[in-house]
Amino acid sequence: MDSSLRKVQDVWEQDTAIVEGVDISGPWNRMFGQRVIWNYTPELIDEIASFPGAESFAWCYQCGKCVPVCPVDVVGDYGPRKLYRKAQTGISLLDSPDLWLCTTCMNCLRVCPKQVDMVQIMPAVREQALLSGRPLPAELQEALENTARYGNPLGQPPRKREAWVKDAGVPVPILHQIQRPVEWLWWVECYPSYHPRGIDASIALARIFHALGLDFGILGREEKCAGDSQRLAGERGLFEMLAEENIRTLSKYEFRHIVVTDPHALNAFRKQYPKYGGQYDVWHYTTLLARELPRLHPLLTRQLPYRLTFHDPCYLGRHNGEYDAPRQLIEALPGVEFTEMPRCRQNSYCCGGGGGGMWLDSFAAGRQRRRLSEERVLEAVATGADTLVICCPYEVSRFEDAVKSTGYEGRLRVRDIAELLAEAMGLIGEEPAKA
């Protein structure tokens, strides 16, 4: 250590310094010494980048484009660039609460010039945290245990997965009962099977399918969670177990395409299940219904006097490129006014439910100024809309809670596109089918 240096507020500077005859004594001469940043080691960055899938963590060159588009940073202090910087300063992502805040919404990857891919990095690092026995947030642990035990994160009885069908008011064929091929296998998923508001949308969708004369069937109690959000939360082993079981179940039945309610299931079937031998032609229900618009149009007979705005689900839009189908359906609704939110399409905001966020709500809320869902509801309210239209089953409960917590109950309603279409077709009333 140079004895002429003295420590002032963590920065080294020289009391007296004459450089090439110029006296630069005083606090400002610290810039001629080594910058403090040089004292840091890349060890933690190398550790993270060594996990399979997390290699791109090390490619970050700190440009910071990711931070302003990160929905978590908008309500807190976060952003991929900051994770890299924190690793430089000795804070390990493995042990930081930051590990559980990313919703894998993919907006950072959209703007990253270095292709630092948090959608791969987060599950990889979370998996290491789980495998090394680090404790995980209790609500997430419960959801993972429920999924492993019951095939759904809600902890609901597997046999009740098809119970909603009895309220549908139209035939909903269940494949283990009908024993015949169908054209469309409808993958209903967990929340649309068990959550009361999810069931409302399922009933609406069943009635629409029926009105269109679609040849469809569901797996009912044989269906298990597609598992994508559990995978993104770091539980790859659980995901693999679910994928293997679901692929085995699907192999028992004949169908031509799969239609999913849940964009997270869409993502799993399109991008992950093929790795385990499950190759399917998979459609989101908005894509299917948009294709059927010529037949739907004449059935949309009721005027809906609503002012609508629409939230793009991350796993439908950014992750799977579908922005138009939901909008085509909304524009086909008679009588509605439609306004986009400022953050829409490729730059859509995130409801906070993806990547395991659905089961980290209070963990994240304790570290944020407001929930992501609340931020989004305020944006929807600012458009003057009276209805926030959604097409992902995570969103209805998140946004309805956020409408209440932000004080807009009675002024903004949250409705699935399927509910609005079914209402315009006279298949359901203004109130949920099963109140």
């Binding site: 998996e127 789980l130 404790p135 995980l136 790859r236 082993g237 659980l238």
Partner: protein, 255 residues
């Protein structure tokens, strides 16, 4: 030295339980099983002790369901060193707590553990008789409703819950049998990948046993609970419901 943990599977009540046409058993085809919740805490407490002292943890169970392997592999994945399964004609039967303790006692004596940990009670052992019965059969000291343990030379210090929030700290000479009410930490999560690894790489030791002939009461009939008809459902608007609740509370002198 080892710590023995007893694991028992019980019917999962998330699904509605159905009674078999015989009327003396559950419909086993529709029952799924989970590890008794208190046993999960016994395992967690043993794993915490292992982390502090380096003892080996051995999980022991009687396979009455034919599905005990899953529970044992999960325990191995969580950090247990050995798993012992008692098999034989007991599969498909419900053992009384006394019979269960009788089957376990010789196996546990052979393991010569420093401690035996089991759940303080189970849905089919609401009196919490397993730990005291085992203690009596082995002639080892016993205590129940344990919420914390610490091993020391030749003894174990335990914290036991009494009533009204009163805790009792006591010391027992080892070996001892403990009925665990709650581990010091939430039972840990084990990733499915680790369980699958344990299924590939570990072995479950098997011990043949026979259903003991016992003078236990014989089950004559199982019945689903009958509605007592005392519940009153309050309907109407939220404010009507609130008014009605206040009325009921006032009538009972509670408000």
């Amino acid at each position: 030295m080892t710590l023995a943990v007893i694991l028992k599977q019980v019917p999962d009540v998330v699904e509605e339980l159905a009674i078999d046409p015989s009327g003396t058993d559950l419909d086993r085809d529709s029952v799924s099983y989970v590890v008794n919740e208190f046993d999960e805490h016994a395992l967690e407490e043993a794993l915490l002790l292992r982390e502090a002292t380096g003892e080996d943890v051995v999980v022991v169970g009687v396979d009455t369901t034919g599905e005990l392997d899953q529970a044992l592999y999960t325990a191995l994945a969580k950090g247990a060193q050995r798993a012992v399964k008692l098999v034989g004609d007991v599969e498909g039967s419900w053992l009384s707590t006394r019979a269960l303790a009788g089957l376990l006692a010789p196996v546990i004596r052979e393991l010569s553990p420093r401690l035996v940990l089991t759940g303080v009670q189970a849905p089919d052992d609401l009196d919490g008789q397993l730990a005291p019965t085992l203690g009596a059969l082995l002639d080892w000291p016993h205590t129940g409703v344990v919420v914390g343990t610490e091993l020391a030379d030749g003894l174990v210090r335990v914290r036991k819950e009494l009533w009204g929030g009163i805790m009792l700290d006591l010391e027992l000479a080892t070996p001892a049998v403990l009925g665990i009410q709650a581990a010091r930490a939430t039972p840990r999560y084990v990733p499915v990948g680790r369980v699958r690894q344990a299924m590939r790489e570990s072995t479950i030791e098997e011990v043949e046993v026979e259903t003991p002939v016992e003078s236990a009461p014989k089950l004559s009939r199982l019945r689903a609970p009958e509605a007592a008809g005392r519940a009153e459902m309050l309907t109407g608007s939220p404010s009507d419901v609130v008014e009605r609740i206040l009325e009921i509370l006032r009538a009972r002198g509670l408000y």
